[in-house]
Symmetry: C2
Subunit: 389 residues, 2 copies
């Protein structure tokens, strides 16, 4: 057969043929593609009691078209990541019903009753008490299980080999961890931020610290990451009265530094805080670093006694968690900056009546986080970093 | 055909059949297996003008026999490492004439005119002015070329994936970087060192630092390493009046922390220094850390302007070299200790009339190097570490 691009009209036969849908007379399909990269289809029975999502990776970036080719093998990385998470945190990802490597297509739980966290935050919602705690636990559960603490040495080597992701890692290495600090055609920014963008490009101390974080991203094979854990990769909602948090889109998954996952989430929390401050809708935004870090640390420490390799002692755990903390702070800084003066910007800021003041505050926080990550000791210090240095 | 164990009588037909030896009437073969793991044969024409070595990995550890199985795939790692080095430092390894992956056999330069560095040192020779400088250059040339400075991002990811070496890394992780610090049946030591061995096992600060170095070994994918760079992996001699230094046996090769290669070499220099001190044959032993580090740093800095990725700035190079330095010091410490109270000991010490005094001095140096690696700033401080703390 070989790979073929699925259209909405193909989905009924596709799902039926793969054993996911018994009754071809009772299926309605609509396309709900939303992210930059892939197509997503929802199939639903007339009475709504049966529904499934199909996500297919195209051989290019969806929003750009065939002029920007991109290997659909990123779907393999996504399927592998879901498989790992399903073993340790199945409640925090969509249920995966099947993966079709020939067509780079995942058949998965319909989450259309949930909302993307970023969308809710942009509409003025608070985070609520559950979301960041579940994210912290998610990172702890995935990374502990795929670290040298949760996995036997030989299995880890196999995981590292199968999880290399040259094309998507290269995007991060360039777009996130280099371009914003040099002259590059990808970069753009609000006109009122030209001074800061120039200042950042001229800041040699900042450049060296980003180089350090970038090399760590390239070489530190601590654990399998989500790889793109921003608020657009999280869905939240309520089912039968219980809060639901689902992390999705792990196509950037690879074995890397744990702080990269936490840092991305923190960057987005810090940016949404600046948005809410601007709009006067600030509620619990400032608590999210603390909530996610505490949940991460608590869960990692809870798992620690189950480690496969007891040569690692408790004092080393303390040191390792401190290192993750420091790197998370640094990656939070790089993510904030790249989302304001780099290639892909955040709707949190771009949809503000005047994005400049909040963007400026966020940029200054981002730089402080990178430069002072070794000195910042806890989430409350991070929250006030704009005033501290 | 499949894998078959080569015997001396097989070598003529083997070399002829693979195109390495034209005249079957003029070949003499002898086995010269010496290391723990593999068999080595030398083939030579009657007049000595033609000669070749054949090295075959057995499916077990040679000195132990079939009761200790070990995948012969380690020869693949060795061949890959030689292939990488041949691109950047062909003068520092034996010429490789062919690799036969079916039989895990390398056909290579006959180096029987050279001597193993450890053997010479044990006989009272000095290092001379060339050896450690060439070793430092070797590490710089191999690791720069296979780091994110010398190799494009996607090629690096492929190298990491193909170079994972679960079985041999596991040996290092256990035998070198864990067992000497816990009760383990592999461990043994000279009766006069029982107090220190017990003290080391009870030293919780030492354990935490070794755990840190061990986790770095497992997770830090800086560059392709030799992986077992002791003085028994170096041959030296003289050809047509010029000094020759050849690094061999890179079967433990994998992508790891650069300091592990330098640290192993330093450990062996520090131990040979203690031997020479004991025997009154001390000459230039104390200079070798400085010579190898300076050659490494000089060569790495010489290569730096050729880096593929210029986002990494000069200030980051300084920081990166400092990190390699610190980790090298730590790994030197772990290598010294494991060679005295761990599984496999060094003839440098075991062949002394009384191994205990030199072993005790070396053990104390080893512990200091691990505990104080962040504070030690240069080779001269390392040389006097036994008196410093």
């Amino acid at each position: 057969m070989g790979y073929r691009i699925l259209e909405p009209a193909d989905i009924p036969a596709y799902l039926h043929g793969r054993g996911h849908w018994p009754d071809l007379a009772d299926i309605q399909v609509r396309e709900v593609s939303d992210g930059n990269m892939n197509r997503v289809f929802l199939a639903r029975s007339a009475d709504g009691t049966r529904s499934l999502a199909v996500k297919q990776a195209l051989p290019w970036v969806r929003v750009a078209g065939p002029s920007w080719p991109m290997s659909p093998e990123r779907a393999d990385a996504e399927a592998r990541a879901y498989e790992q998470v399903a073993k340790v945190a199945p409640d925090k990802i969509p249920a995966i019903h099947g993966y079709d490597p020939e067509n780079y297509a995942l058949v998965m739980e319909d989450m259309s009753d949930l909302e993307v966290l970023r969308t809710l935050l942009n509409e003025g919602a608070s985070y609520g008490p559950h979301t960041s705690a579940r994210i912290g636990e998610f990172v702890a559960q995935l990374t502990f299980a795929t670290s040298d603490f949760g996995m036997a040495s030989a299995d880890r080597k196999a995981l590292i080999a199968t999880s290399v992701s040259p094309e998507l890692c290269k995007i991060t290495e360039d777009v996130v961890l280099a371009e914003p600090y040099i002259e590059h055609e990808h970069n753009h920014w609000h006109a009122d931020l030209t001074d800061l963008a120039a200042e950042f490009r001229a800041d040699t101390a900042l450049r060296t610290e980003v180089a350090d974080l970038r090399h760590t991203f390239m070489t530190s094979a601590q654990a399998l990451l989500h790889g793109d854990l921003h608020t657009g990769s999280v869905m939240v909602g309520d089912r039968e009265g219980a809060p639901v948090v689902r992390v999705f889109d792990p196509e950037f998954s690879f074995v890397g530094p744990i702080g990269y996952d936490l840092g991305l989430y923190w960057a987005n929390a810090l940016v949404s805080e600046q948005r809410a401050r601007e709009l006067g809708t600030l509620t619990d935004h400032a608590d999210q670093l603390s909530l996610s870090w505490q949940a991460f640390e608590t869960e990692f420490r809870r798992l620690w006694p189950t480690r496969t390799d007891t040569f690692f002692d408790d004092a080393y755990l303390d040191r390792f968690l401190r290192r993750i903390w420091t790197e998370s702070v640094g990656y939070a800084g790089t993510e904030i900056i790249r989302r304001i003066i780099g290639f892909a910007h955040l709707t949190d800021l771009t949809t503000l009546p005047n994005p400049a003041p909040a963007s400026r505050r966020a940029l200054l926080i981002g730089r402080q986080l990178i430069l002072h990550r070794e000195e910042l000791k806890n989430p409350s210090e991070v929250g006030t970093v704009g005033e501290s240095f």
